[in-house]
Amino acid sequence: MSLIRKPLNRRSILRAGALGGTALAMPTIFTSRAWSAGYLNEPTGSTVTLGFNVPQTGPYADEGADELRAYQLAVEHLNGEGDGGMLNTFSSKALKGNGILGKKVEFVTGDTQTKSDAARASAKSMIEKDGAIMITGGSSSGVAVAVQALCQEAGVIFMAGLTHSNDTTGKDKKANGFRHFFNSYMSGAALAPVLKNAYGDDRKAYHLTADYNWGYTTEQAVRESTEALGWETVETVKTPLAATDFSAYITPVLQSDADVLVLNHYGGNMVNSLTNAVQFGLRDKQVNGKNFEIIVPLYSRLMAKGAGENVKGIFGSTNWHWSLQDEGSKAFVQSFGQKYGFPPSQAAHTTYVQALLYADACERAGTFNPCGVVEALEGFEFDGLGNGKTLYRAEDHQCFKDVLVVKGKENPSSAFDLLEIVEVTPAAQVTYPPDHPQFAGGALGTCNPGA
């Protein structure tokens, strides 16, 4: 009796070889370990380095400082130090407080200066010289778009900080880039119903818009949302980014037929234009038998502080606010407040969350390989990080979550108590199809592992 039932031939050997190969490959194809193939800055020692690219100088340095505080807190929590913050409330339980994939988290910092060139240079340096596996941070859409493109070319993940322009996850979206922060479209969609309730559907709006990318997308979003309500847009005027005195732009508003002024400004522009508008008595004015109103589509507590009493009663939108009472927000505010003595800003919140989301994605993917991280983040649904149930949409790498409509508080009880939440707009109301005209153009492309 022969042990070989069938004679060996070339075809059977090839077939057996193919089957054997497939069987051997099976565990790696269907698990994320497949991503352990070579990639840029693969951590080989006991540590992993993250790159925090924030504005440490320039006009947004205070926001940058708050982002850096949040990152430092996130690193502590990831490494198992402190009270754990939002790790305790995060719906995903992949993170164990022992670093990322067992490697202690270390970090390097760069200064974006809120300039695209400087931001790219500092990100490049952190990737090439410090071996950063991921870049995160920033407080400007121009910077976010520039650094996102660099990270895509280099082959590392970019977790955007505070960037509100539609373009970051619209025409300039990249496979290696992810944004947790909300965007201009969402601001418009969240604000419109609240404005209708507060001011009615027969209004004439005058827009002053910062003359750069973010200003354009915000103006378009608010204009389209309010026009859909029945509002008329009387005039849209672009103001130079470097402008400090807006009186020459405010006074024509007095002579127009407008009864609402929309200030598509951020940072110092917002502080100055709002202050000027209030100084010129716009808020005491009556037009068309109605009280004149001012709207600031994107609010930030740090900016509201700069505008002082002028923000009282003025509507705007924000990504997150420290007064939220969900478990995640409370845990973060407690943790941040204990460490630094004041509540975190929305910039601090979004950057802290981005650091946790990246770490969690690595844990779930079982690798630091950018392509594994991309796969883990795409379509990822989570909760417990301060914005309710959230989806990282696969098509554009934009987070979809509740948006806050806020109003300048009339009687603040402390220096931090400047904004009150008027409405938590559900995620469904601010969700748009990936091919929405405001996000047209550009393609996500494919992930780049860099090696």
């Binding site: 006074t251 700069g306 505008a307 002082g308 420290w322 407040g337």
Partner: protein, 343 residues
Amino acid sequence: MDAILLQILNGLDKGSAYALIALGLTLIFGTLGVVNFAHGALFMIGAFCAVTLSRLLSLSFVTIDETQKDFLGNPLKVETPYVEAWFGPQTGSAIIDWAVPLAILFSIPIMALVGLFMERGLIKYFYKRPHADQILVTFGLAIVLQEIIKYFFGANPIPTPAPDVFSGSLDFGALVGMDPNVIIYPYWRIVYFLFAAAIVGAVFAFLRFTTFGMVVRAGMADRQTVGLLGINIDKRFTVMFALAAVVAGLAGVMYAPINSPNYHMGMDFLVLSFVVVVVGGMGSLPGAVLAGFVLGILESFASMAQVVALLPGINQIIIYLVAIVILLTRPRGLMGRKGVMES
């Protein structure tokens, strides 16, 4: 018509700031021959004098209010300003409310000292160096000063409101028999314009009607001859540097309620103020004041929506455009003196 009137009014307060800064620049250039790129920083330091005094007057002691909670759920720490405890709540809050006007007195010695230190400590070593060296060192100094301010006060603008009594606006239209609510102008900007006019008048009167001023003017015209007469003109010029610093500082103090001070505000004004000096005529004090107001008003007009719609971007280049035209037609500027920077 009302739009034109409004833009003229708008130009007046911006022009006031340009004129005050340019006046100081011209004083320094005319006396010491130094092109001082740190002059905008002096304007910024003046504004932060207002911020500092406002903070000093608001210094508080803390009491714990067990009935209220802070953001962490701990008993609320209630801060009560010392001035309110010392002088009673009404008087105390009125003192805090008037922080900006009070800062005028507070800033004069500070700005004079800053000016003296700047001139004696650094700039005097560059008198005989080329203008390019002077520009580099004073520009570097401006960056250092603004970084120091940013270190202590942060990068965000700090609201520094005018006293409540000046917080409203004047209905200028109703006043001159036009439609009400169309030409509205904030009270504080009117105060700023009047203040600037008073400062300019005081500086001119000082130079014209005092012996000190006469010597300085003589020194500006012919330094060597004045020196040969046994007068220590250098010492007087140092005093003029301090005076110029005070003028820039006062301009900054009173500007604080118009736009919340931030560390960069000096740079925003500096370049335009230099253009103002050149347009007015290097070394000409009346020229600096005249050009300040003219360019301020032109800038306001160029920012009108109708003008921008016709000539996009004109609002950002108008001042430079006018400067080119004036320098082509009148190379010494509007009121430039013969011989200044022509050797």
